[in-house]
């Protein structure tokens, strides 16, 4: 059989796919400060990507800032090459450290939680120091496009404004804050940029997820009033419902059978990216090992199987431009998009004592999927997770 083309290309939206609010977000002037708020799947990242593309075409000095390295890889692959123009993106933290160093040589950081661990920026010192700077240069010709802008702290934005940055295009969703106490609220952003509430654009319609996925996501919705609740995508009753599979116990498929079916699913759709979202490293490594060693008859051979963080000694970055299987921990998945999401061993997710956070975690995981969501459970069910899962089989179909 012909070798499959696994390329996973970013396809520009059709004109019918953009609603009037998205049209408006795309038409915002290049200069100035713009804030676009919307829930998962409302097309925030698409408008941010199109904005970056426009800046690249216009040969402007711009930078797209995202929360983490995975999201940067994902956006870079989606952007592709623009007539020789590469996607200029960075993680917000790394970019800010470089910028700060340019002015002040050393970057103030807080002590690490454990020896050799990550040292977060000392924003109090940074804010104070930035205000002492006499001449930070002219940044009026520089443009910043910021994705998942709710995850950066208010001091980050305030420092940039104090340094003389003028052109911001920020897309954000307050319902997806990773660490609410260190994140920026809608009001923080509006105050920093001097944007009137009515001038913040709200994207409300869910385009990424199918109706059955959106219905499942709504079940886990954290309900922060600052971000508009995404409207359900238009569709009649769902035909392809999210699935819940139990495995590993008597009368249930064995783990090897589930792994074989995941590989067959990937084989049927060679250009689709399947994200397996795991609760912890142990589960991630377990799935990775089984996927890499399972003996299954496939039309196209074993699909590419990737993981993050990558194995030691591997220098390859994750490839979002190709179909296959990506096994990552749940906490790394925010902002990413997969064609199909498999939530592995959902009973192991933490924190069990903070239902709001656990619910938010499920919300973020479910909304990563464009076309299908599959829950996997094995062993004894956790009563806390049980209480969170929808019992209606129309929302989450129990499979055997």
């Amino acid at each position: 059989m012909k070798k499959p083309d696994r390329s996973r290309r970013f396809v520009l939206p059709g004109i019918q796919d953009l609603n009037k609010d998205q049209d408006e977000a795309l038409a915002l002037p290049l200069q100035g400060q713009h804030l676009i708020i919307g829930g998962p799947g409302t097309g925030k990242s698409v408008v941010a990507l199109l904005r970056a593309r426009r800046l690249a075409q216009d040969r402007r000095t711009y930078r797209t800032l995202v929360y983490n390295r995975l999201l940067e890889h994902s956006n870079s692959h989606l952007f592709g090459k623009q007539q020789g123009e590469s996607f200029r993106s960075d993680t917000w933290d790394g970019w800010f450290r470089k910028l700060y160093k340019h002015f002040f040589q050393t970057v103030p950081v807080l002590p690490a939680a454990r020896p050799g661990g990550y040292q977060s920026l000392d924003w109090q010192t940074i804010e104070r120091t930035v205000q002492t700077l006499k001449d930070s240069g002219d940044h009026s010709g520089r443009f910043l496009v910021i994705d998942e802008g709710q995850d950066m702290p208010p001091a980050f934005y305030q420092s940039l404004v104090n340094l003389g940055f003028e052109n911001f295009y920020v897309v954000a969703d307050q319902n997806q804050q990773l660490e609410p106490e260190r994140c920026s609220s809608r009001r923080d952003l509006e105050n920093t940029f001097g944007i009137a509430t009515e001038d913040t654009l709200e994207l409300k319609t869910n385009y990424r997820n199918t109706l059955p996925i959106a219905l499942l996501a709504r079940h886990f919705y954290p309900d922060d009033p600052a971000s508009p609740r995404p409207e359900l995508p238009a569709s009649s009753a769902g035909a392809l419902r999210p699935e819940l599979w139990r495995y590993g116990s008597s009368g249930e498929p064995a783990a090897s059978e589930i792994i074989a079916r995941i590989l067959q699913l990937s084989d049927r759709f060679p250009s689709k990216l399947i994200g397996i979202l795991t609760p912890d490293n142990k589960t991630r490594e377990g799935f990775l090992g089984l996927l890499n060693t399972a003996a299954v008859q496939l039309d196209h051979g074993r699909p590419p199987i990737q993981t993050y963080p990558p194995p030691r000694n591997s220098r390859r970055s994750l490839n979002f431009a190709s179909g296959g299987i990506m096994v990552i921990n749940a906490h790394s998945c925010k902002g990413l998009e997969f064609d199909i999401c498999i939530l592995a061993d959902v009973d192991k997710h933490l924190p069990k004592r903070d239902l709001y956070s656990l619910k938010s975690k499920f919300y973020v995981m479910v909304t990563r999927a464009r076309e299908q969501v599959i829950f996997l459970r094995s062993g004894s069910p956790c009563p806390v997770v049980d209480s969170l899962l929808p019992s209606d089989p129309e929302i989450l179909a129990r499979k055997e």
């Binding site: 970013f10 520009l12 059709g14 038409a27 426009r54 035909a239 599979w245 049927r268 076309e371």
Partner: protein
């Protein structure tokens, strides 16, 4: 990967006196994507208020336009830019209406309508083909750039065929006449009044447009698809004259004429065309339900009615596999095709296994028959409609054919007597490069070699080296990737025809510039 649009608009001669459509840049973009000059009903809920809002079912066209119509066109959102599109109505004939400044309507006829100084606009039944667009004018360079930028943000608009210009003077010439002159209750029926019996059972314009485009592109792999495209695009040989052996595909002509299958149709044919009808209806439904839902709901309902156990079990198996293939249902694609054989089941299964029309054109499987592939093309085309097809599937020549056929179909459906201009004839490349007598003509071979060479299809070309007097070849010396012969040899490039046809059937298609040159060599309608 994001693809950048390349636009070098073809200049069109200015008509002696233009009719103007007053709109905004985003409505114009939508019409270019939809392939039709349409009233708000054709915008599927994304119409920004403009002059088209005044008379649903009609296109108001002005000789001199009121400034208020320009203001109305940008009244809904602050980012809208006014736009004036000149139309050339020379190819149209039939009854239209004229609206006077006093708010009176009267009938007149194209191509020479009676239109006086007191008349405000001509009302032409919607929709019209895009080929009537002569040029689009903007008030400023900034507005024109906003239009180009917005076109670059979407996948389904090509600006190649529409001349664009800045013409501030045209905008300054707007009159202070009243607009709108009167409300749409002038037409109690809402939509354009019919002149003959409407045929609403016919497939809608978007479904037909998508179907034609898929047959055209599928026609580079399949002679059957190519022949069907030829007949449906109004070119010689009607589909009735074609010998279609597959009983499901054989119902295509009947379905196109009447929107349903013939009484003699088999059960698989009834089910397949029932699905196609459900998908076609989806383009006009208000609820916007997903295509997959429509298909599965239709088949679920049919399953309940089926009495024949043989078909029941086949349909049950198919429905099960269609539902489970996107989840952890077991089986590879080959196993699924093996389980679900036949020209009814396999195209439906493929509709769940491949997402878009280009993905189907990319797909091949040794088990798939030609009829199954063509039926899958029809299913995908009707499902996506012309609107959803990306720019890579829209050469200007194909857009012209499709837009004209869609407008004709829509006019026929509503019983209009308006006659539209013909499109230029167009055939898939494969049809132009067929060798019915087993031998390509010299021109065909030249064109095919041009395509193979320019596309880098190394497996399609052989190089023949002949010694001038037929002498035996001496030992040859290979030097840095060259063969050196110690005499004056004749070198000829030859096409490997079977490999060439195989390559021609692949997706993505031959680059438009290469195709245009090949068509020029063949002296046919150029696809640029």
């Amino acid at each position: 990967m994001i693809h950048m649009p390349q636009s070098t608009p073809r200049r069109r001669p200015r008509p002696s006196r233009s009719w103007y459509l007053i709109t905004n840049h985003l409505n114009l973009l939508y019409m270019l994507a939809a392939g039709l000059v349409t009233d708000p009903a054709g915008f599927r809920g994304k119409h920004y208020v403009d002059s088209l809002s005044a008379f649903p079912g009609w296109i108001p066209l002005f000789r001199s336009f009121p400034a208020r119509a320009l203001a109305e066109a940008v009244s809904e959102r602050k980012h809208l830019r006014p736009c004036v599109v000149a139309l050339d109505l020379n190819g149209l004939s039939g009854p239209v209406r004229v609206l006077s400044a006093a708010g009176k309507l009267r009938q007149t006829r194209l191509p020479r309508p009676r239109f006086g100084n007191d008349d405000v606009c001509l009302l032409v039944p919607a929709p019209l083909p895009l080929k009537l667009f002569a040029r689009a004018s903007f008030r400023s360079d900034d507005d024109l750039q906003a239009f180009r930028t917005a076109a670059g943000d979407v996948s389904n608009v090509l600006l190649d065929a529409l001349p664009l210009e800045k013409d501030a003077a045209l905008f300054d010439s707007a009159s202070d006449a009243a607009w709108p002159v009167l409300q749409s209750d002038l037409f109690p029926g809402g939509r354009a009044a019919s002149s003959t019996a409407p045929s609403e059972t016919l497939p809608g314009a978007q479904a037909l447009g998508g179907l034609l485009a898929m047959l055209y592109h599928g026609g580079n792999r399949s002679d059957l698809a190519s022949q069907l495209f030829r007949s449906l695009a109004g070119q010689p040989a009607s589909p009735d004259g074609l010998l279609i052996e597959d009983p499901v595909l054989a119902q295509l002509p009947h379905w196109l004429r009447q929107g349903r299958v013939s009484d003699a149709a088999t059960m698989p044919a009834r089910l397949y065309w029932g699905v196609v009808s459900a998908l076609a209806a989806g383009h006009e439904a208000a609820d916007g339900g997903s295509a997959a839902d429509r298909v599965l709901h239709y088949l679920d309902a049919e399953l309940e009615q089926l009495a024949d156990e043989k078909y029941q079990s086949r349909l049950q198996r198919l429905l099960h596999d269609m539902r489970s293939c996107m989840g952890l249902g077991a089986g590879t694609l080959s196993e699924l095709l093996e389980r679900n054989k036949g020209s009814f089941s396999r195209p439906l299964l493929l509709s769940c296994l491949r997402e878009s029309s280009p993905e189907l054109l990319e797909f091949s499987h040794p088990e798939l028959t030609e009829a199954e592939y063509v039926l899958a093309c029809i299913l995908f085309g009707v499902r996506d409609g012309w609107l959803r097809l990306p720019a890579a599937m829209r050469s200007p020549a194909l857009s012209d054919v499709v837009s004209t056929q869609m407008a004709c179909q829509a006019q026929t459906r509503q019983g209009s007597l308006l006659l539209l201009p013909d499109s230029d004839p167009l055939l898939p490349l494969r049809a132009l490069l067929l060798a019915p007598a087993g031998q390509l003509t010299a021109l065909q071979e030249k064109a095919a070699l041009h395509i193979a060479q320019e596309s880098g299809w190394q497996d399609c070309i052989e190089t023949v080296i002949r010694a001038p007097d037929g002498r035996p070849f001496p030992a040859m010396v290979a030097e840095n990737g060259k063969l050196v012969l110690p005499f004056d040899a004749l070198v000829e490039k030859r096409l490997c025809y079977a490999a060439f046809l195989r390559q021609l059937g692949q997706w993505p298609p031959v680059a438009q510039t290469i195709e245009a040159r090949a068509r020029a060599l063949l002296n046919t309608a150029v696809g640029d």
